[in-house]
Amino acid sequence: MAKFDFGDDSVVVIIGSGAGGGTLANELCQKGIKVVVLEAGAVQSPQTFINDEWKSFGQLAWLDPRTTSGTWRVAKDFSGLPAWICKTVGGTTTHWAGASLRLQEHEFRVKTHYGEIKGANLMDWPVTLKELEPYYARAEDKMGVTRTNGIPGLPGNNNFKVMYSGAKKLGYQDVHTGNMAINSQPRDGRGRCMQLGFCFQGCKSGAKWSTLYTELPKAESTGNLDLRPESHVSKIEHDDKGKVTGVVYFDKAGKEQRQKARIVCVAGNSIETPRLLLLSASAMFKDGLANSSGQVGRNYMRHMTGSVYAAFKQPVNMYRGTTMAGIIRDEAGHNPKRGFAGGYEMETLALGVPFMAAFLDPGAWGEDFAWWMDHYANTAGMWLVGEDMPREGNRITLNGNVKDKWGLPAPNVHFDDHDNDIAMRNHAFAQGEKVYKAAGAIRTFRTPPYPSTHNLGTCRMGASAKDSVCNAYGQTHDIANLFISDGSQFTTGGAENPTLTIVTLAIRQAEYIAKQMTARSI
């Protein structure tokens, strides 16, 4: 591992080592650029991952204080845990399920395609699918996405069999084991999926792509990476010309450090990224860095989500095998006849007994709840994930009443469901129940949203500096050497799981940064 001096102002500092930060780090290192990655979490590995839901949660999840407000049900069920994302080297790529879908063409230009929707801050992306296609292809190859690059699909488990059977009876056409960044056969030095059933707990076989054991070691082998785990960034600093000059962070020992930088890239996930820009407010940038538009922290999206569980007369044993084992894509398009804009995906999902108890129906008790737990072995499950509406009022702010262990204000996550989100959720619930009834379910259950895993949009990209935070490359409009490198860039959310798009944008951003550095424009 390279070690760069704190005073070395030629390095690129990347904050965060997940899908965005970890990929960007490798891409830059491969081009010969010196990179310092500051990751708040500690290092784990497939050897240290734990096949135990609660213990793994304690090992990987971001548990620093956060608060919630708004009408979303998560604020009631999990008031201190708005998001289920990770604080560990590799970030949430340790926890993600592996679903790797490209956004659809129209999802990059929803304002044009859907028209004006009241209460929604719709905007077209400043980039098109066509422009992103070559980068999507590189991301799929890098991540080893099944059903691309000649990689076979994964074998479906019991949970998928149930979904497939019901979906086909219902008339759905586009149903298969998905496009997954999980090795169906050995590839890129990693083994094939062992069908462990603990995708969310860190993949112990290493078959699922995570920056932890792909991008970061590859970056390290170039000699250009200085990865510093357990380094919590508290502030980005700038000079009197308004260029960022470096960052302040607390190291493993809790000691304050200052790392100089030529460029700073923020990839802390869509809650911490805007929080850091807001925390970095100064006399020159009173509302926080890169916030002349006032959009930093706004347009927070978390995808329309919900789950349907169904009990059958006979065993399913859904816990066996990949957590997200298959998908129905027929509802993913934009079809306003359904009563809402945008679309959603239906993806199998399984929880173990401990998390089933925690998430099936938070706050519930009594005979009905016990009935569902008693039928655990005969239960099948799916997750519903679709496009939600960006709203200016859905936002990350600093909560001065709650402080983290460094004395910094905690982020508050405010979210109000848009009517479109509610209409879509109800439609998705109904369709999910129909799928399982067609497969012979004796009972179905509508599970409310889990804490958010798809946090998006809080530093959106756009064509104009007036109403967006960064340009099509994630470069902030206000500060040329400050970049947004995670899902915060998303202008709108699309229906698809966002990781593939985050990786795609990171590959493209790396190319742009390298060019700008060579041209000495930054």
Binding site: K55, L196, G326
Partner: protein
């Protein structure tokens, strides 16, 4: 005859050194019961021949309480059964709830008062001993306390105490950790037979090297 001490369960997210929830195979002679220092000891036996008997060296179990009395522990166990009634889960699982509630009380005087007052309220509503009231009466009493901090504490604790241990896993049909057994690639991840197998284009054959 031996006593099985059921060790502290995982008590919440972020607790790193929690036990795995197994029933430790301790050789603790029954005669040592008198030396247990706690204020109460809950005891029972697992039904012989039950699926759980294989998990333990003996069918007898005991849980030591530090702050709550035996009677208070029994009230908590019964409240747990009202909240999450599982005929197939033995008392030993509900005793884990009593142990975890006792641990909360042991660590904090305010919590101890809230818990002891809550149990007293259960008894008072039962006009005597809550644990001995009829099932119907117990349900009414617990329902009547919904929304109170004591109710929320016990209900919340149930989620990890009752459902994150090897006995519950066994009863509900969840084997837990799969890594050390090689996952399910050769152990039935697609063994469901009551529906037809999807075609190969939707679900290709597993790669078996």
């Amino acid at each position: 005859m031996r006593v099985i001490a059921i060790e502290t369960m995982f008590e919440g997210a972020g607790c790193e050194d929690a036990s795995a929830g197994e029933v430790p195979k301790l050789d603790l002679p029954l005669a040592r019961r008198e030396f247990l220092k706690g204020s109460g000891v809950l005891m029972g036996t697992l039904a012989t021949g039950s699926v759980l008997a294989a998990l333990a060296p003996s069918t007898a179990w005991a849980v030591e309480l530090k702050t709550l009395s035996k009677a208070e522990g029994e009230a908590v166990m019964k409240m747990g059964r009202v909240l999450f009634p599982h005929k197939k889960l033995p008392d030993a699982v509900y005793a884990l709830l009593a142990k975890d509630i006792d641990a909360k009380a042991a660590g904090d005087a305010g919590a101890a008062k809230m818990i002891k007052d809550g149990i007293a309220a259960l008894n008072s509503a039962a006009g005597g001993i809550f644990a001995k009231a009829s099932e119907k009466k117990r349900k009414e009493i617990v329902k009547g306390m919904e929304g109170q901090p004591f109710f929320a504490t016990v209900r919340g604790q149930c989620i990890t105490s009752l459902y994150d241990n090897d006995m519950a896993f066994k009863v509900l049909g969840y084997p837990g950790s799969a890594w050390e057994k090689g996952g399910y690639i050769t152990r039935g991840f697609q063994d469901l037979k009551w529906l037809p197998a999807p075609p190969l284009e939707a679900s290709p054959k597993p790669y078996l090297g």
